[in-house]
Point group: C2
Chain length 141, copies 2
């Protein structure tokens, strides 16, 4: 029953994890607030960023990690905002969500604000950002 990792190592990992969660929380709040400034809910913002090309509703559901039934309402609301259209695919069961001109404007605006307004851009030097990028890549691998 000897522990796989030392108590000190676990505490240290836990402290780093806590910081990562705080940064993640901050990043999410940044994003949510930017989306809101454009009249979008966070989920609507995420959906627009996935629609650089028209995609089946099913693909949205997968990408957003939610049940397909939810995409119906999400698409309804984005349609009501004038941001997207439903386009029937070759396979006539499929409906592609396609950005309207207004939707493209929103999407580009959102992407630009997220890039410029991020904490990362503001608080780190170029070399620190590269160091961070390397570590994040490892986390995502």
């Amino acid at each position: 029953m000897s522990p796989r990792v030392s108590k000190a190592s676990l505490d240290e990992a836990q402290a780093t994890t806590r910081r990562l969660f705080q940064v993640a929380q901050r990043a999410r709040e940044d994003f949510d607030s930017i989306a809101e400034s454009l009249g979008l809910t966070p989920l609507q913002g995420r959906a627009l960023l996935m629609l650089e090309r028209p995609r089946p509703m099913r693909a949205l559901a997968t990408g957003l990690h939610c049940d397909a039934s939810n995409v119906t309402g999400l698409a309804d609301r984005l349609e009501r905002l004038g941001a997207i259209e439903r386009v029937t695919g070759h396979d006539r069961r499929v409906k592609l969500l396609s950005l309207t001109a207004e939707g493209e404007r929103l999407r580009d605006d959102l992407a630009a604000r997220v890039a410029v307004g991020s904490t990362v851009t503001a608080k780190l030097t170029r070399s620190e950002r590269q160091q961070l990028a390397t570590l994040l890549d490892k986390l995502l691998s």
Copy 2:
């Protein structure tokens, strides 16, 4: 009208930001899934982690960045789960949310699983975690 930052620098910052959002997303999904494995919604999990000591409902609202009215329902549901109790404070307007024995068990379990199950613990060496911690501190400063 000369740009404050070069195009290349902006692209690089944007790429780092995107990675950070992906990691943030992953961290959140990890947390949500751990909370769910304990029968908690993500918000209920976050609330339990804030209740190491009894706190006024108002303080919860502030910490969770939500309106005070929502904490009523949140507390109702945590009470129904047997995780917390409402305790009237010295100022009799105030109700403190206090973990029950069951709530403490849940909270400790949640904290332990988050620490151990995190991507950070799994994918980085000790020295990489320290490097990451330093960078995250800068982001949070």
